[in-house]
């Protein structure tokens, strides 16, 4: 089953900490979004393998945009 990692807020992608094929645990930091002068980590919603990363560092994202997919 695939689970999407959604942007909790609008901002700029500061760092991508995972890559396709990488295993992650629930609550691991996956992506960091910079907004309001703060770096906000986005956590994995479940354990699994990263199937797809839809953004790259420097991209601008809107709230609820899909950042990555975990399977």
């Amino acid at each position: 089953m695939a689970e999407k990692i959604l942007a909790p807020l609008a901002g700029k992608v500061f760092k991508v900490l995972v890559s396709v094929g990488e295993k992650v645990e629930a609550d691991d930091e996956t992506i960091i979004i910079e907004a309001m002068k703060m770096e906000t980590p986005v956590y994995a919603p479940c354990s699994g393998t990263v199937k797809e990363v839809k953004i790259k560092e420097g991209d601008t994202v809107e709230e609820d945009d899909v950042l990555a997919v975990i399977e």
Partner: protein, 577 residues
Amino acid sequence: MRPYFEKMPNFGRALKEGQIKRSLENVDLVKKTESEIAEAVEKVKNAGFPTEKINARGQMTVWQRLEYLVDPGTWCPLHTLFNPMDNEIGTTNVFDGIGKISGKWAVIIGFDNKYIAGAWIPGQSENILRATDLSKRLNVPLVWLVNCSGVKLDEQEKFYANRRGSGTTFFRHAELELSGIPVLAGIYGTNPAGGGYQGISPAILFAHKDCNIAVGGGGILSGMSPKGHFDEEGAEQLIAAAKKFKVEPPGSAKIHYDETGFFRYVFDEEKGVLDGLKEFMKDMPAYNPKFFRVAEPKEPTFSSDDIYRLIPMNQKQVYSFDDVLARLVDGSEQMEFRPDYGPEVYTGLCKVDGYLVGCIGNRQGFLAKGYPEYADYSGFGGKLYRQGLVKMNEFVTLCGRDRVPIIWFQDTSGIDVGDIAEKAELLGLGQSLIYSIQQTDVPMMLFVLRKGTAAAHYIMGGPTANRHNAFTLGTAATEIYVMHGETAAVATYSRRLVKEKETGKPLDPVIESMNKLAKQYHDNSRPIYCARYGLVDEVVPMNEMRKYMAAFAGAAYQNPRSICPQHQMLLPRSIKG
């Protein structure tokens, strides 16, 4: 109330592998700053004559006296780097802190006899007033190691007089005594004039056989020069008079033990004075800890060394405050107050060394969607919004009612601003929190974990709470300023930039000024600066934070002026619902 407190819900998470890996650089940065602070502390401890020279005179140094006097492992130094008037020696020539003597907590303060025989110097009176205020706030004895040669004459204009000048100490001693707080003094060396009052103003005087206390010194040969100035003839007269002048300093142990009886005890040995203080401290008023403990003391489940990995030096990075707190309190257990309200602030009951304390701290990072509820923008931890302010007001008020001491943790960028925030009454709620703090009568302490900014630094139990804030501690990551330096540079120069642009003038000079101001803010907000000018009372290593919390809780519960029976407390019931 055993079912409430014996085993409270656990909280905090273990560090993850990725977190450990990513935080390596942060650990190095924190430890580098901590070693710079330790170096500065070592330097001021060694100010003045070397220890060997003092020992060769048959005297112990202030540090040796403190070490002998204080129970091992209990000393929590305060104001070590405090030097608000920029004295060359880097201190105010007194050292103080809280520690146990014969098992009882006390505020302990001593003159540094390595520098001008413990003279009064600029900034010292402010340091002493912090110590007397601390003793009053915690209602614990004040123990002096007096060794004070009086005013450093060539700088007297900076501290001799004034509302909070050197003489204010003696009124504070009287204030403590009127409040039933014992002030004990071990007295060494020559203590004329100001030094004499340092000696006489405490309640019980323990004297070394060679000490003296007196209204004035014996070394002052005559008053003013009859000519109104000094010349060679006058100098020759002075030399002749000084050669003949061989009087013993007035106010010796013989006078003040045999004649006046001011000295309650006289001891032949330096250590004897300290033994006398230790013996007396055994009988100081104190409850047995079991009277107030709500559970057996226990260590946190997680190591306090983890804090080096949790609190980022990079001010833009967020962290879990709950995870930090879980490394500081007994058993990593807590009872959170209103967890579903005001998510930017943690409020809850925790235990430290078996004693109940109220903890309040800023949570960090992006808050839940739709919060704050009054605005169409997203809320971030570190900022304060309506619910958080209401929650803190309620929690502080209930802690006051239940007589629970409060430990504040700040990492705040301020209170939400703008007309929307004004409509949400944030200005009024901030002042309400100040009122709530003021109407309690419980000791409070504060850690500025990272940022102490804007009015939030005031209202979250900051040192401006004065009579309520026992002491404020910083960490290697502490920064205190009205706003971030870059924000200040924008506020100061943005209009100027517009003007220069419109008139075709070069922007470089303005940009240079902006960078200069931002750097000035950075430099003047660092931990050592904060300690030097008293914005914090000490900067402590991250793995020693719990030691200070335990000292605070132990001292606050040693002999409180009022009590709330545990089974009549409201706060735990309010949390349980």
